[in-house]
Amino acid sequence: MKSLTGRAKVLDNPKMTFKERIYLPAIIGGITITLRHLFKRKATIRYPEEKRTFSPVWRGMHVLKRDDNGAERCTACGLCAVACPAEAITMTAAERKPGEEKLYREEKYAATYEINMLRCIFCGLCEEACPKEAIFLTDRLVSTDYARDGFIYGKDKLVEPVDKRVDVSKRQTPNVLEFKKIKHYRHNR
């Protein structure tokens, strides 16, 4: 019967030739491919001993930066939280008391700052929204855990230690680095 549309494909199932029926040429062909791959460069690495180098713009675990004097840069302005598409960031603000100028850069600071790493999609919008150069995504990985509450990272895990700074200079564009040279801007002091 002729098909109505004329688009149907007619399948034929031809008989195998003698060469195909003994299978040996196909098997040898397969083995050759396997052998060729044995001597090629491997795509995998032996992970715990060997680690891949990250791209300079890799978006991994966040860091809350301190300034050159060791004061926390974050002022709890909430722009990262409002920019966050996954609503992973929460914070509460507090007022800096006299005598705490060494600890906090501005008169307001984040008393608590939490990122839910299970919600976070590592898009980097918080980094883009930050007006104070306080939050950056780094090339560190968020470690695995068995429980969910272990993934809510507070300031204890996010703020960089004074003696162990996290270098983020390679994440900054040439424009930003140029801007940072202008020292009479209050932001750069």
């Binding site: 709890a76 302005c77 409002v82 603000a93």
Partner: protein, 335 residues
């Protein structure tokens, strides 16, 4: 009655109306911004200069243009006046300059400021200002001062609009604060930080166009765009009792008076309503406050859509577009 044309749109207003109020009767994009003018405060206006407009024809009898840009908030209309606001490049250039001047001493500490998100200066500089500053001198700085236990004064953010002093003069019986010194040294102050504890002193917070006067009970509690504004009222003997509650969950973080779309309060509220009643149970909640969708506060803010109003607005826009393309209305805004 006087016939006046603003940016090609003709309207008729009573004699003695200012150009700004005439523009507000038309509404839309042609309304000049105003930082110091406040409808409900007498004598306000004429200080900030952001409402400057060009008068292309002074009146029907005298068709010459006015020699300089005029402050629209304090210039009364004349019959046959032709005003250019956003259609005049001169005005936009001047306004840009005024914004730059207003920002000379402004610290731009919006990440810290409680006013951020509902700040007139923020909106204005976003619309007209430069992204960078040309000012290289030291900015004048002041320490924040507590005016009483409810109000915080950040003099560094002040643009000297004088609105708060008019509130004190016209709403309360005794003014305790004012502008000290002159010129670029002028500052709002109270002698020896004298507390202002009048029943209506809290309205200074609402009239302040910037973050110079802020609510101490709300200080750093939350950014305004994380709060949920609700219209509410209560029976108050001193004031109208109609307020906006800025809530987070069941918690009332802040109480303010209701502002219209030009950021002006018409019914001032007393300090008892503003500071003492921070329980949701004290108030009769009317519903969510309408927030303009261009405001950052409308982020995560859900309200019931008024379909009738939406339909009207869409029909109005269709009519407007038709008028533009057919050329039926040569005076229609073409910019």
């Amino acid at each position: 009655m006087a016939k006046i044309t603003i940016d090609g749109i003709e309207t008729e207003v009573p004699d003695g109306t200012t150009i700004l109020n005439a523009a507000r009767q038309i509404g839309g994009a042609i309304v000049p911004p105003a930082m110091c003018y406040y409808t409900s405060l007498q004598q306000s206006g004429g200080k900030c200069r952001v409402c400057l407009v060009r008068v292309a024809q002074a009146s029907a009898r005298d068709p010459r243009p006015l020699p300089k840009l005029v402050a629209s908030c304090s210039t009364p209309v004349q019959d046959g006046m032709i005003v250019e606001n956003i259609t005049s490049p001169d005005v936009l250039e001047a306004r840009k300059g005024v914004v730059e001047f207003l920002l000379i001493n402004h610290p731009l500490d919006c990440p810290i400021c409680d006013q951020a998100g509902e700040c007139d200066l923020q909106d204005l500089s976003y619309a007209h200002g430069l992204a960078t500053t040309r000012y290289e001198e030291e900015r004048r700085t002041f320490e924040p001062i507590d005016i009483g236990d409810k109000i915080k004064l950040h003099m560094t953010r002040c643009i000297l609009c004088y609105r708060c002093t008019y509130v004190a003069d016209q709403l309360t019986d005794e003014r305790r604060h004012g502008v000290l010194n002159r010129g670029d040294r002028a500052e709002i102050g109270t002698y020896i930080q004298k507390a202002i504890d009048n029943d209506f002193s809290g309205n200074m917070i609402d009239v302040c166009p910037v973050g110079a006067l802020t609510d101490r009970t709300f200080r750093f509690k939350s950014r305004v765009w994380f709060t949920r504004p609700l219209d509410a009222h209560r029976n108050c003997e001193k004031c109208c009792g109609k307020v906006v509650l800025w809530t987070k969950g069941e918690e009332v973080l802040r109480v303010t008076a209701r502002k219209d779309k030009y950021g002006e309060v018409h019914e001032f509220i007393c300090n008892e309503c503003r500071f003492e009643h921070k329980n949701l149970s004290d108030w009769v909640v009317e519903g969510p406050r309408h927030i303009d969708r261009h405001s950052v506060i409308s982020q995560n803010h859900y309200e019931k859509i008024n379909l009738v109003a939406l339909k009207k607005e869409i029909e109005r826009q269709i009519q407007f577009q038709k008028g533009r393309t057919n050329g039926n209305n040569p005076n229609a805004l073409t910019a």
